[in-house]
């Protein structure tokens, strides 16, 4: 048995839930009691001065109790009817698409199989399956009041980025929610909260009514009654909202226990703690927030990971922190997952979409870290993934399908390059000092000796990051010999060493690079490509996913036109040919008569343009890569300039590029 602890953890979570539910019910009774106390205060002057517990049993008291309970009941019932509808309604509400039982899509087929496996493992009938096509984050949820009408909704991101085992872990987790009746429990708690909220709302209404009528008819003889009504309203409002706040806290705590229970059950069903652990880890690296639906917070308690950003995160979160969940699944698992990540992608935080870049461009490193990186390479990057078949001749228009894949050609290119490198040179790139000096060398090797001396003199004095002439003398001749085509591949080789730098060192390095770039007062394409590349991978924010801002091509029309215009002119020397290429490439984006491409683009403009494009939805990016590829590959040759431009764009769009 993989982990004998899960039965105990299930029992523990169940006991905790029981305690919390009792606490919740106590809170509801206390609120009812508090309402009665308010009623007692109001009516005390009229009736005989009875003590509270006697008053409670008098007709006044019983009426108040009944009224409070009926109020809470009505409020709850309205919410309950709203929530307890069938699961398919919820799925449609978030814009999910039903997966047909006989689907031919291999990802969906896989999901279906996994769900059927889990149904056997858990003894729950197979729920209806839905997929959220436009959601690239990793998340999943189940909805439906009873197991029979449950539906399971999975995001496209989960299908694409998770391995089979991890997806199995997630599905197992969701099955636990179905099996343990969590949906029902949650709907009940939420309904009761709505009932309590009703008291608060009535209080608010009374307060406002008392205030307004008091203001319009001041000095009226029933002014005192108005004031009393206002006081009553205020009291009810405070009770209601304080009650809701504590209710929410308890409800969130219940939900966290249920998540723990579901994690434990997932291990029980799959007997594979690594599956769900890996999935949680991937969520931790990115986020599970659902961006395309406005119902995210309603779904929150049902999701696999947090679906909405909340205030008071730790108290109101419906899920425990990811680290805590992984640790609960198996102590030490987190450390193992981290070290595995470090092994596959040296030193870096997971740059989710670009992660497989290493395996592409440094085929030799990729082979060292075994199939792991390669095996997942396709899975991580859904929109760009394809079953690239080497034997088929690749049409130019499908460049994006090569993004993030390893092909024999690119491997051949890499090994070819590696053979050309002198071994001392190569070994230098694997050391931190050597890698740093390489960056400096790349920016200065084409300069004359005097200019080199001047530029390198600008660098901050630092034992590691300053100028190191003895290393540079070893690097510069080789760089000059290899020439332009090798510049980027060599930099790639140095990346693992550069990632080992700590935060301050990285900052100094980036500052130094900036100085070198600025030294000759002009910014070349290569300099821009190099500095954005380093910034992207080494700056403090590196690895954070760029938030998606644009969801269609129309909103970034000028930017697309600018980039494609640039590529069209880079792709050919004749003006006429450039116009033709431009029109061909742009036709896929916008209908209507094409406009003429914009004139010269300054490096600064290019930078702003690419910034905007990087905020495009990942599903839309391949189109742009294809269009750019169309321009530079129309003549069957790719120049160094063209390649570097392409690299720059692909890097900015977070789509790693193999050599062309």
């Amino acid at each position: 048995m993989a982990n004998p602890g899960f039965f105990q953890r299930q029992a523990h979570a169940r006991r905790n839930t029981g305690l919390l539910v009792v606490l919740f019910l106590t809170a509801v009774s206390l609120i009812t009691l508090a309402v009665c106390l308010v009623g007692y205060m109001v009516t005390r002057s009229q009736s005989t001065p009875l003590p509270f517990h006697h008053w409670l049993l008098s007709s006044h008291g019983l009426t108040t109790v009944a009224a409070a309970i009926v109020l809470i009941g009505i409020g709850s019932l309205i919410r309950w009817i709203d929530l307890a509808g069938g699961g398919s309604r919820v799925a449609k509400m978030v814009g999910a698409r039903l997966i047909e039982p006989d689907t031919q899509n291999s990802d969906e087929r896989k999901l279906r199989n996994i769900v059927e496996e889990m149904a056997i493992a858990s003894g729950v009938s197979v729920p209806e399956l839905y997929v959220m096509d436009h959601e690239t984050s990793i998340n999943a949820f189940v909805a439906g009041y009873t197991p029979g009408e449950a539906v399971m909704v999975v995001t496209k991101g989960a299908l694409a980025q998770l391995s089979r085992d991890e997806l199995q872990g997630v599905v197992g987790h969701e099955f636990s929610h179905i099996l343990n009746g969590d949906m029902r429990l949650n709907v009940r708690l939420i309904s009761m909260l709505a009932g309590i909220l009703m008291i608060g709302q009535i209080g608010q209404f009374l307060l406002r009514a008392g205030f307004y009528s008091g203001a319009t008819r001041s000095r009226n003889r029933d002014g005192r009654a108005q004031a009393a009504m206002g006081m009553l309203g205020l009291a009810l409002m405070i009770i209601g909202y304080v009650g809701v706040f504590f209710g929410r806290l308890i409800q969130a705590a219940v939900s966290r226990q249920r998540e723990m229970l579901a994690d434990a059950s997932s291990v029980q069903f799959t007997r594979n703690p690594e599956g769900i652990g890996g999935a949680l880890f991937k969520i931790g690296m990115t986020s599970g927030y659902l961006d395309t639906t406005s119902h995210a917070s309603d779904m929150n308690h049902m999701c696999f990971g947090e679906s909405a950003r909340m205030k008071f995160t730790s108290l109101l979160a419906s899920h425990p922190p990811v680290e805590e969940r992984i640790n609960a699944i198996q102590p030490g698992l987190l450390a193992r997952l981290r070290s595995r990540l470090r092994d596959t992608e040296p030193g870096a935080k997971l740059r989710q979409k670009a992660a497989q870049a290493e395996s592409v461009r440094m085929a030799d490193l990729a082979s060292q870290v075994a199939g792991a990186a390669r095996g997942t390479a396709g899975n991580r990057l859904s929109p760009l993934r394809s079953s690239f078949n080497e034997s088929a001749r690749q049409p130019v228009s499908q460049l994006s399908t090569r993004v993030g894949t390893v092909t024999p050609q690119s491997e051949a290119f890499a090994s070819n390059l590696l053979e050309q490198l002198p071994s001392t040179f190569r070994n230098l790139l694997y050391t931190r000092a050597g890698a740093i000096q390489l960056c400096y060398g790349l920016l200065t090797y084409h300069l004359s000796a005097a200019e080199q001396k001047h530029s390198l003199g600008l660098l901050t004095k630092h034992p590691l990051l300053g100028e190191q002439p003895d290393l540079l003398t070893k690097l510069l001749p080789t760089l000059a010999k290899l020439g332009e085509p090798a510049r980027f591949p060599v930099l790639e080789l140095a990346m693992p060493a550069l990632r080992k730098l700590d935060k301050e060192e990285r900052q100094i390095l980036l500052a130094n690079i900036q100085k070198l770039v600025a030294a000759d007062n002009r910014l070349s394409l290569f300099e821009l490509a190099l500095s954005t590349f380093l910034n992207r991978h080494l700056a403090p924010g590196a690895g954070h996913a760029v938030p998606v801002k644009y969801r269609n091509y129309r909103s970034v029309k000028p930017e697309i036109e600018r980039v494609i215009g640039l590529f069209a002119r880079a792709g050919t020397s004749s003006e006429q040919q450039a116009d033709k290429l431009y029109n061909e490439a742009i036709a896929g984006f916008f209908s209507g008569p094409p406009e003429t491409p914009a004139g010269k683009v300054s490096i600064k403009e290019l930078k702003a343009t690419l910034d905007a494009l990087s905020r495009l939805s990942p599903l839309l990016k391949p189109g742009i890569i294809d269009a750019c590829g169309h321009c530079i590959m129309h003549d069957g040759k790719v120049g160094v300039r063209e390649y570097e431009l392409m690299r720059l764009v692909a890097d900015q769009l977070d789509c790693p590029m193999p050599p062309l």
Partner: protein, 196 residues
């Protein structure tokens, strides 16, 4: 009818209701794990049905690996006959063991096939074969999960059965202790000896 009689009757009624409750629980637990067993059978069947398709589809690519394919087919045919045997009488331990080792041989033959197919990229790229492999992997998971569900069910049943006072009822109505299912027998763990 005196007060004592009434109290006595009530006490007896409560005890009877409690006993009925225990009995019903035992019955439902027993049926749960039996369903688990039925699932194993269904999934083994599915596995056996998928393999000929896979072999047929792979034939064209594996001209030089005929023996691997024959091995897979023979192991499969063995497993089919063992399954038919075992299905007749699931409580027969030796038959279950034979099925277990036949399934294990089949797993090993398939593993060998997968290893060989690594050398044929075109084979792995074939969509039909990819689909069949996914189906097969899924089916193997299902067998494993069904067995696991069965064993979990047996465990719950045994625990409930052995508790006091449930064990009295269980003894009275012959709810036997049930053993967990081990498809992997010690002999099957040894390297398979397949000769042609």
């Amino acid at each position: 009818m005196g007060m004592t009689t009434v109290i006595g009757l009530v006490v007896i009624a409560v005890i009877v209701i409690y006993l009925v409750f225990i009995y019903n629980n035992l019955v439902s637990l027993r049926n749960q794990f039996k369903n688990g067993f039925a699932q194993i059978d269904v999934q083994l069947q599915r596995r056996h049905d998928l393999i000929p398709n896979l072999v047929e589809a792979a034939k064209g690519y594996l001209d030089h690996e005929k023996s691997t394919l024959t091995q897979v087919m023979e192991a499969r045919n063995n497993a089919v006959s063992a399954q038919k045997d075992a299905a007749k009488d699931p409580s027969d331990n030796t038959k279950m063991q034979r099925l277990g080792s036949a399934e294990n041989l089949l797993t090993k033959a398939l593993a060998n096939f997968y290893a060989v197919s690594e050398n044929y990229p075109e084979l792995k790229a074939n969509e039909t074969i990819q689909q069949l492999m996914e189906e097969l992997a899924s089916t193997e998971n299902r067998v494993a999960f069904a067995r696991q569900a069965y064993n979990d069910g047996v465990m719950t049943y045994n625990i409930f059965r052995e508790k006091f006072p449930n064990n009295i009822i269980a003894g009275m109505f012959a709810f036997k202790e049930t053993a967990q299912l081990q498809l992997e027998t010690p002999e099957a763990r040894q390297a398979p000896k397949v000769s042609f």
